[in-house]
């Protein structure tokens, strides 16, 4: 277990020290602020009421979970798996006293940590930016904590698509191929329910905004349970397949 923990630490440090990942965190902090400025300008000039403060973080979360975070997740997993194969740096960790299975888990865990960090940055930025949209005085501690919980819950399907993207990355020897394929398959899976509506019920990618199930005064336990089942079962299948391919990979 020691080596598993050590490699999670190493993978996180590697991700933090890459300039583009720091740029992603900065962008994640800036986007809510920029959009809030835009909305505020529209509201002031056109006299149109678009958002209240309490709605803004949830609106931003939808933008992150449907568009931005999946893109970031695909990039992180493509880099950490296929990218390292292409750069010949994957073998650096594979010749250390750690099994491939633990390396696989630690790389996905590192992406998971970054998902959480990005969501927290987005949450804080959305909250602060939302002050400019009015009604900040009505904020309660309970409301803040509920908002934080919604953001944390949103990490679950994001981690699941990281597991799926890690599986896809096993077929590539460079990050660009893995990234483009992940994006293409994601778009295909999001659009397929328009043609085959039943697909939405069993597709992991239809639950990117499952955090909506957690909103409201009463939480739909049955719907959350079903969504969680789909997310978990998809994750297990992709994890098993991905870890097998990683374990048998010849370098």
């Amino acid at each position: 277990m020691h080596n598993l923990y050590i490699n999670i630490l190493n993978e996180n440090q590697k991700m933090l020290l890459k300039k583009k990942n720091m740029a992603i965190l900065v962008v994640s902090a800036l986007i809510p602020a920029l959009i809030a400025v835009l909305i505020s300008t529209v509201q002031n000039q056109a006299g149109v009421f678009v958002f209240r403060f309490s709605d803004y973080p949830i609106f931003m979360l939808g933008l992150f979970t449907n568009i931005l975070l999946p893109l970031f997740v695909f990039m992180w997993t493509a880099d950490t798996f296929a990218g390292e194969v292409g750069e010949n740096t994957l073998k650096i960790v594979l010749v250390r006293p750690i099994t491939r299975y633990k390396v696989y888990i630690s790389k996905i865990s590192a992406v998971g940590v970054f998902i959480l960090i990005t969501l927290m940055v987005a949450f804080i930025s959305s909250m602060l930016a939302g002050f400019g949209l009015g009604e900040a005085a009505s904020v309660t501690v309970g409301g803040l904590l509920h908002g934080l919980l919604i953001y944390i819950v949103a990490a679950v399907p994001m981690l699941a698509i990281a597991v799926a993207a890690a599986f896809i990355a096993q077929f590539f020897k460079g990050s660009s191929g893995a990234l483009m394929t992940s994006i293409f398959l994601y778009l295909f899976a999001r659009m397929l329910p328009m043609v085959v509506p039943d697909f939405a019920k069993i597709s992991l990618f239809s639950y990117m905004d499952w955090h909506w199930l957690w909103l409201g005064n009463s939480v739909g336990v049955d719907k959350i349970g079903y969504a969680l089942l789909i997310i978990l079962s998809s994750s297990i299948i992709f994890f098993a397949a991905g870890s097998y391919l990683f374990d048998t990979k010849n370098l």
Partner: protein, 245 residues
């Protein structure tokens, strides 16, 4: 006495039918064993199979008695290696690369990083990003990374690759010194017969994926003019045609 490395019937064939077949050898503790063969003979495939970078089709590899297929972590805890090329994370400094590697080894002192950097002559460049390093500097960093954990078995694939004459001599002397003073066991591969002659205790000749002959260097030099002559005689017939193809 337990063998440092035992390989039995190691076979790995790629899709193009090239690879290694039926490799069996043993290396004693404190020995410098050289794998000598031309490019494409299978030296790197053997080393990749030993360190788990590729999965063998058949055979057994034991490092200090530990089976690498079942006890990988225990086996690799005592191994330092450079396989195919000395790679490092280019966006990190030499010091940071070694820091990441060093965490896997419980009880490793922080001063060890400075020690190995000094040993390979990279102390003045430790904070520079590896992306700015020359090939020789990267090779030295690879050696530092392999030595970091104070391994009892070093597996080095063409360790003098990219080094100038002085650098090659330095690495060679470091290997000889570590083997005699620290009792580290070495498995070294090269296509340069003269380099192996100066460094190794025993040689295994590899050609077309097979281990053709093993012999002590002292015996080879007693019976042949040079290691080069020995290699040619083992791999070519009287007409100069390649044997074992």
């Amino acid at each position: 006495m337990e063998k440092a490395l035992e390989i039995k019937d190691l076979t790995k064939l790629y899709r193009n039918k090239r690879g290694i077949m039926g490799i069996s050898l043993e290396i004693n503790p404190g020995e410098i064993y050289g794998l000598l063969g031309p490019n494409g003979a299978g030296k790197t495939t053997i080393m990749k199979s030993i360190t788990g970078l590729c999965k063998a089709d058949r055979g057994e590899v034991r490092i200090w008695g530990y089976d690498i297929s079942k006890q990988f972590e225990q086996a690799m805890a005592t191994v330092g290696c450079i396989i195919e090329s000395a790679d490092a994370y280019a966006y990190l400094s030499a010091y940071r690369n070694l820091e990441l590697a060093g965490r896997f080894y419980l009880g490793l002192k922080k001063t060890r990083i400075e020690e190995v950097l000094a040993l390979v002559g990279l102390s003045n460049f430790k904070k520079e990003k590896v992306a700015n390093y020359s090939l020789g500097m990267k090779q030295r960093l690879g050696l530092a990374s392999a030595l970091l954990s104070q391994p009892s078995l070093m597996i080095l694939d063409e360790p003098t690759n990219g080094l100038d004459i002085e650098g090659m001599a330095e690495i060679r002397n470091t290997i000889i010194q570590l083997a005699s003073e620290e009792k580290i066991t070495f498995l070294v591969s090269s296509h340069l017969a003269h380099e192996m002659e100066l460094m190794c205790h025993r040689i295994g000749v590899i050609n077309h994926g097979r281990l053709i002959k093993e012999e002590a260097v002292s015996e080879i030099l007693n019976n042949y003019a040079s290691l080069e002559n020995f290699f040619i005689q083992q791999t070519r017939d009287d007409r100069g045609n390649c044997l074992h193809a």
